[in-house]
């Protein structure tokens, strides 16, 4: 029997727990013996920033040495001289100045070309795909965060955990935090008004019939119980917690300030969701003749300044090590500009992962603006679920098997975090990772780790096993190493790469397109 079925047969999601008089707010859960401490989450926290509408990746991280970019976006391309250069090929939009500072301090990983196979260009379908973590051909109704929380809090909904499992700043609960166990998130705009609001909500626990309408009533009952359970705690944590700096007076700034306050107040909630809308820039993405200004620039500045303030705040309060921020958007936008100073729906785009624990730098290769799909859109190189897998494993400390079951299949992690599971040494002390991106055209990275100091040799072979290049050879300290391979060295085709140590040899395959 599935657990949800079992619960349904109990007749009540909250069966077995003591309740007060009907109609009176009760807070009986705190003593529940079934309650699990949040240690399952390692005390780590992820803060998601959803950029709703489809963020234009190419005008966020700009391939400013790519003539195709300028040719395809004559009225929209950010002029070379305005770009904040980051690598010799790519730079940030000038509105991302504060994010650039974080980047320079090694606190930003930029994951390139994130998307999925058979991209869908509908806002709604693609948002569902990103939020559920499904492939383009699957229709899931649970969020990947919801599935993660269902694993981390197995006692829910028979008992509510001491602290909210997820907090969403807003009003309409996102699919992200839904699971088969029900709604896992507490949604509010402001801790104080939430507290005031919930006073007087009756806690209902009477059994409800198993009917179509009964299902809806039970849903309402569960939401009411969660509000009652958490509204004091949230207020108390927000009252205790402080912001150590002043946040920009923007919608996202306000949301992140609340999140920081709650974290600083000691709330152990592992997931926070914030949202910024307005990215559907079909028209007037930039100001005519003043390309570095306009709707998109304002949005980017809002993200950068709010995230930078958040990071600074947590740093000052000594809380930054456990928190990571990840941005995401349902798709990027078309490479070609349209006729209305804007861009239509596209596919892959970069996203940012920010925090003290990230490796920093670019993950994956520069987008290829000439090898497009039949619709004139970018081909993705990193699957968005690889990013989720990386956050879950390398930041939240979720093990491989659990991550696989949350995401429905195994996804290779990406070298986003310093303490990367992808680079954790295996039993024999040597880990060789799949190169990313793979297949690749311009450049790819190979990551390997050694658990103790030793001699090692990393080399590239053709498919017959003939050595073509030695990538690195010599005595190594214990640690993780990243080696870049440039595409121009190789004709398109299959290759092997391998690491040779005293313990033996490991070989993997790579593809140059």
């Amino acid at each position: 029997m599935k657990r949800s079925e079992f619960l349904r047969q109990l007749g009540l999601l909250s069966g077995g727990v003591a309740f007060g008089v009907q109609g009176m707010p009760v807070r009986a859960f705190a003593q529940n013996p079934l309650q699990l401490d949040l240690e399952g989450t390692d005390g780590n926290i992820m803060v998601l920033v959803q950029l709703a509408g489809g963020n234009d990746g190419l005008n966020t991280v700009i391939p400013y040495h790519n003539d195709t970019y300028y040719a395809k976006r004559p009225n929209l391309a950010i002029p070379k001289t305005s770009v904040l250069p980051v690598t010799d090929q790519q730079g940030f939009h000038p509105a991302l100045k504060t994010l650039r500072e974080l980047y320079d301090n090694g606190k930003v990983s930029v994951v390139q070309n994130v998307g999925y196979q058979n991209p869908n260009r509908s806002h709604f379908r693609s948002t569902d795909i990103w939020q559920s973590g499904s492939s383009a051909t699957e229709y899931w109704t649970e969020g990947w965060v919801g599935r993660y929380l269902a694993k981390a809090f197995p006692e829910f909904p028979m008992a509510l955990p001491r602290h909210p499992m997820a907090v969403q700043i807003g009003a309409v609960e996102s699919m992200l935090t839904l699971s088969g166990m029900g709604s896992m998130g507490v949604v509010f705009d402001n801790p104080e008004s939430f507290y005031q609001l919930v006073k007087g909500t009756p806690a209902e626990t009477d059994p409800i019939e198993n009917t179509i309408a009964g299902e809806e009533l039970r849903f309402l009952q569960q939401i009411a119980l969660q509000s009652i359970q958490y509204s004091d705690l949230i207020k108390q944590k927000a009252d205790t917690g402080q912001n150590a700096i002043t946040y920009p007076n923007t919608n996202l700034g306000r949301q992140l300030a609340i999140v920081a306050e709650l974290i600083a107040g000691g709330m152990e909630t592992p997931v926070y969701l914030t949202t910024l809308g307005g990215f559907d820039t079909h028209a007037n993405q930039v100001v005519n003749g003043n390309i570095t200004n306009g709707t998109h620039a304002t949005l980017l500045k809002t993200i950068a300044d709010a995230v930078a303030a958040f990071q600074k705040d947590l740093d000052k309060q000594g809380l930054a090590d456990k928190v990571t921020v990840m941005t995401f958007s349902e798709f990027g936008r078309r490479v070609n500009q349209n006729g209305t100073l804007g861009t239509d729906h596209g596919t892959a785009a970069p996203l940012f992962v920010v925090g003290n624990t990230v490796r920093g730098g670019f993950v994956g290769s520069v987008p290829n603006l000439t090898n497009l799909d039949s619709n004139g859109d970018l081909k993705f190189t990193n699957d968005f679920r690889q990013v989720y897998a990386s956050v879950l494993r390398d930041h939240m400390g979720v093990d491989v098997a659990t991550t696989r079951s949350i995401l429905g299949q195994e996804f290779e992690t990406l070298p986003i975090y310093r303490r990367s599971s992808a680079t954790l040494p295996s039993a024999d002390g040597v880990v060789l990772e799949q190169n990313t991106p793979n297949p690749f055209h311009d450049t790819t990275e190979i990551v390997y780790s050694l658990s103790k100091a030793q001699y090692a040799r990393l080399a590239l072979y053709d498919i017959q096993g003939r050595e073509l290049l030695v990538l690195r050879e010599g005595s190594h300290d214990k640690g993780t190493y990243v080696v870049r391979v440039d595409g121009y060295l190789l004709v398109p085709g299959y290759y092997l790469y391998g690491i040779q140590t005293d313990a033996g040899r490991k070989v993997l395959r790579l593809i140059r397109t």
Binding site: R125, A171, E173, S183, F188, G200, E216, L220, Q221, T340
Partner: protein, 453 residues
């Protein structure tokens, strides 16, 4: 349907109107069949209302200070007033349905004149011909602004409207290709907004052959829509949406197909398909009673009707609808409001309760007095059973709650009303009766059952 009785009438009204008064229920039951009531009341022909002001015909003026904001406010109040005074006619429900289908929003459509025009178009076609409706909406100024149609140009088309026309307005995702979108976008070029009118500019039009859904020709917007209407899936797509609005959010595919057949046979006239739906056995299946979560506007207007409030402060109601996540003229995305469980979060659920409390108390959550309130005694005495506590509780809950409440809960509500005294001693003349009635009503409306309809 077993019989045209109180439960069935209540179910029909609660789904087709924004709440209902006891008078509305009596009126429905004065007809001998549902068929009669639906055709002669809910779907009756009705003249269009007077506009909210002469400004609706004024040419838009840019940078008009606070004028447009004030007019948007007036327009919202005007629509809310239409809903409150709709009586037993379901046109306003359909206007909101179409607003949620052919979405536009005031953040992008700056001039309230355009949104008023669009709102009137929805009223004109509330149960009219959907095919002609789709054509008219395509060149509706507010829509041309909202989905960038006015900027769609033959040299570099903007796909925004073309995509949503198919994905959200007619056939649904999966029934066209990305190329169909591009080709349709070309056919939709050439339209501009001039003042309050849509004008066609031949020079902006892509005067070439387009291949759309397997057909080739120098198509214009009407051709595109005609081709879309040759697809059987279109009727299913629209009927599914109607089903989800009026019956249950998880559609019954077999029944939706029956609806679609009626819709196609009627050449996409909406009235026959609504008549079919609202008199079908499927609609009156008892398990659907109380299975819909009220939208904020259904809750707000319905509460006013339930409490016989005819002079509300629309500013307060507007503010509440915004906090409850349904600001009229401002759907969250082009997909509109999702509805059902999306309305409910740990914030909006308690907010709903605080709204009903405030209307009964005549005070906002922060204690500030509202300019309208109910007279508890007069309200209670409007029930013939007001002096018999048990009957009174039964009548009020039967009237207000679509979900049948458990006997134990009914007892709890009775105890709330009696507040320590016994049934035999109850009378609306006892001291503090008004306070008890208020508390009783607040408690009824705080029950999660009250959120269902």
């Amino acid at each position: 349907m077993s019989a045209w009785n109180f439960e069935n009438a209540r179910h029909l009204l609660t789904r087709c109107l924004f709440g209902y008064t006891r008078g509305d229920l009596d009126k429905a039951l004065s007809y001998s069949t549902a068929t009669d009531f639906v055709s002669k009341e809910l779907l009756a022909d009705k003249s269009l209302p007077d506009p909210p002001g002469t400004w609706v015909a004024e040419a838009p003026v840019a940078n008009n200070g606070t004028v447009d904001g004030t007019r948007y406010r007036d327009l919202t109040f005007w629509w809310l007033q239409r809903m409150l005074t709709e009586q037993t006619h379901m046109r306003e429900k359909m206007v909101l349905f179409w607003h949620n289908h052919f979405t536009s929003d005031r953040e992008k459509v700056n001039f309230p004149q355009h949104m008023y025009q669009q709102n009137m178009l929805f009223r004109k076609y509330a149960f009219g011909n959907f095919k002609q409706f789709t054509k008219d909406v395509t060149i509706d100024p507010a829509m041309l602004i909202y989905l960038d149609g006015r900027q769609n140009n033959r040299n570099a088309p903007n796909e925004n409207f073309a995509r949503e026309l198919m994905e959200l307005f007619t056939v649904g995702i999966g029934n066209y290709t990305e190329d169909d979108i591009k080709q349709a976008a070309l056919a939709l070029t050439g339209w501009r907004v001039d003042g309050l009118k849509a004008v066609f500019n031949q020079n902006g039009f892509a005067n070439t052959n387009k291949t759309f859904l397997g057909k080739t020709g120098n198509f214009t917007y009407t051709d595109i829509i005609d081709i879309l209407f040759t697809k059987d899936i279109l009727a299913n797509f629209i009927c599914q949406k109607l089903y989800k609005e009026f019956v249950y959010y998880k559609p019954n595919g077999a029944f939706v197909s029956e609806m679609a057949a009626v819709f196609r046979q009627a050449d996409y006239e909406l009235k026959p398909v609504l008549q079919f739906l609202l008199t079908s056995d499927e609609f009156y299946r008892t398990d659907y009673r109380g299975a819909k979560i009220k939208s904020p506007v259904e809750l707000l207007i319905g509460t006013l009707k339930a409490l016989s409030i005819t002079n509300p402060d629309w500013g307060y109601v507007t503010e509440a609808s915004r906090t409850l996540q349904q600001q009229l003229f401002n759907p969250p995305t082009v997909q509109g409001w999702i509805g059902q469980r999306d309305w409910i979060s740990s914030s909006t659920l308690p907010l709903r309760g605080s709204f009903t409390d405030s209307v009964i108390n005549g005070r906002r959550l922060n204690g500030q007095r509202l300019p309208f309130s109910i007279d508890a005694l007069t309200y209670a005495r409007s029930y013939p059973s007001s002096e018999k506590a048990e009957l009174f509780v039964r009548d009020v809950t039967d009237y207000l709650l679509a979900y049948p409440i458990a006997p134990k809960k009914r007892e709890f509500l009775l105890d709330t009303l009696l507040d320590g005294t016994i049934s035999e001693n109850w009378s609306t003349n006892t001291p503090m009766a008004d306070v008890r009635i208020q508390k009783f009503l607040r408690t009824v409306m705080r029950q999660p059952e009250f959120q269902l309809c």
